[in-house]
């Protein structure tokens, strides 16, 4: 079955997945690489044209050799130096990786690049594109021979969950006895439901999001009745953040936070 991810199970039993790059993105990356090769050849041609003054034949021979070396060596050089990336792949956030998640070897890079000769047949990588489209791991013939895949490397940052919680001020915490009752009355399933809604908030349609948070806010309002000054003027989504904050964060943490704010 064709999927957009490749899951690898480690001997420790941990499963991690790699996002596979599709043929279209790969084609665009290849197109950028072709432009880079042409740009490099223009520069090399200009430099060698200076040699024409000395010997035209020698300059042309050098140009022929340079074109051959650059067109074949470009992919090998960059993929080896940049751990599986060329300029095009870097722009489109793609990377060549070992199909079993191992370290990419020089041999693999050479084989996958040399087999472009067959993948490029009859024109515009038709054979490679077709194989990639039919293959479950989106591999062209070169990738199959070299045991490689091309993965997507999304921009990865350290997760920041602070944004999910109430922020610097939580009106519900002004009434510690009611906050304690809220923690007592809310079941783990209900707490989880509120947290899930907050975590997935960007996935909802705007109207559905307003409706959902309205319903959830009313539900938690009914659990423990807070005085109007704690809930009035607080948006439904913010109220839910306050509720999740009360349930999931310990008092010690919030006290520490308060101390930091006071400083």
């Amino acid at each position: 079955m064709k999927t957009s991810t490749l899951s690898i199970r480690t001997p420790e039993g941990i499963v991690f997945s790699q996002l596979l790059a599709g043929p279209v993105t790969r084609f665009f990356a290849w197109f950028i690489d072709q432009l880079c090769i042409q740009a490099a050849m223009t520069i090399v041609g200009t430099i060698f044209s200076l040699l024409e003054v000395i010997n035209l034949n020698f300059a042309f021979a050098l140009y022929v050799l340079a074109y051959f070396t650059i067109s074949i060596g470009y992919g090998i050089f960059f993929e080896w130096s940049w751990r599986g990336q060329t300029i095009g792949k870097r722009l489109f956030r793609l990377r060549v990786a070992d199909v079993e998640g191992m370290r990419l070897q020089f041999n693999q890079i050479v084989v996958r690049n040399l087999l472009r000769f067959v993948d490029a047949l009859p024109a515009f990588y038709f054979v490679g594109g077709l194989t990639c489209w039919l293959n479950s791991k989106c591999q062209r013939l070169g990738d199959l021979a070299a045991n490689t895949i091309v993965i997507r490397v999304p921009r990865i940052a350290e997760p920041d969950l602070d944004q999910l919680f109430a922020g610097k001020f939580n009106s519900l915490r002004q009434f510690p006895h009611l906050a304690a009752r809220l923690r007592q009355n809310v079941s783990p399933a209900e707490a989880d439901m509120a947290l899930q809604a907050l975590l997935r908030r960007d996935e909802f349609d705007p109207v559905a999001r307003v409706e959902l948070f309205g319903e959830l806010a009313n539900y938690f309002r009914a659990k423990v009745e807070f005085p109007p000054e704690a809930t009035d003027g607080v948006a439904d989504e913010q109220l839910l953040r306050n509720v999740v904050d009360v349930i999931y964060r310990t008092r010690a943490e919030s006290r520490m936070e308060k101390a930091v704010v006071n400083l």
């Binding site: 941990i14 034949n57 998640g101 041999n107 964060r249």
Partner: protein
Amino acid sequence: VIIDLQRFIANERPFWNELEKLLDRIEAEPDLRMPLRQLQLFHRLYERTAAGLAKITTFSSEPETRRYLENLVARAYGEIHETREKQRHIFPLRWFLQTLPQTFRKHVRAFYLSLAITIAGCAFGGLAIAFDPDSKPVLMPFSHLLQDPRKRVAEEEKATQERLAGERTTFSAELMTHNTKISIFTLALGMTWGIGTIIMLFYNGVILGAVAVDYIRAGETKFLLGWLMPHGVIEIPAILIAGQAGLLLALALIGRGNRSPLRARLREISGDVVTLIFGAGLMLIWAGFIEAFLSQYHEPVIPYAAKIAFGCVELILLCLFFAKSGTGKKSETKKSGE
């Protein structure tokens, strides 16, 4: 299920950061040799992060953290579980004198197969020309070969001006690149279960056989040997070696008599395929140089006997190189150590 997600992340973050720093260092310094203590730390950090990933996976709605951890675990996994030796330095001389001939001998049966296919092609081409001389335009689609051999030899020997005067270097470069492309193509066609490689080798043989018989029938054997031998004794084996690499790839794909999975079979031969094709490339550079600067000179400039003798010496040296180089005790010990 993790209930206090934030606390979990706060607790684990220093370990993730430490692992990330180590990975960045390993990736930036391919020659890095970590001391045992650091290796142990690396392994512990990997295990802890992998365990964190296993926990966070149950928390299906937190894709950002999961992806971050998956990335870390994937990078560390590749470094920790890799059993193939890290390719630190390249030693060109050792590669040329030991690795290349040893690899050639290791897969010599694929070379014999490549040779047999080419000989079959030669026989076909030769017989076709012998029995049906009119088939020449079909068998040899190159204008300079379609001429009557006797006429061509007379022209070449009487030429007062060099045909390639002032263009020899370019011609040499074109020969090198063209032949290398053909070799790579012959190798790459191994991915068609060898059918493409066989066709390429056979077709090369057909042309070679047809040309040879055409010149022999015309009584120009001496010219033929003088013309082809200086570069041909290197160029033809180079194409055969490219065919050997292609057949190696095809045999790994087919997997007859080998119960390992396809991936393992391909992994096993990938290094040897690269060695063989680089070897063929080197040979073609030499052949291109000789073809442009020696083969194109004919009598009376250079006697055919001298050219044929040069070709014979090259062939003997080539055979000795592939048969004997890297067979010494020292290199065999190194090989078994590997």
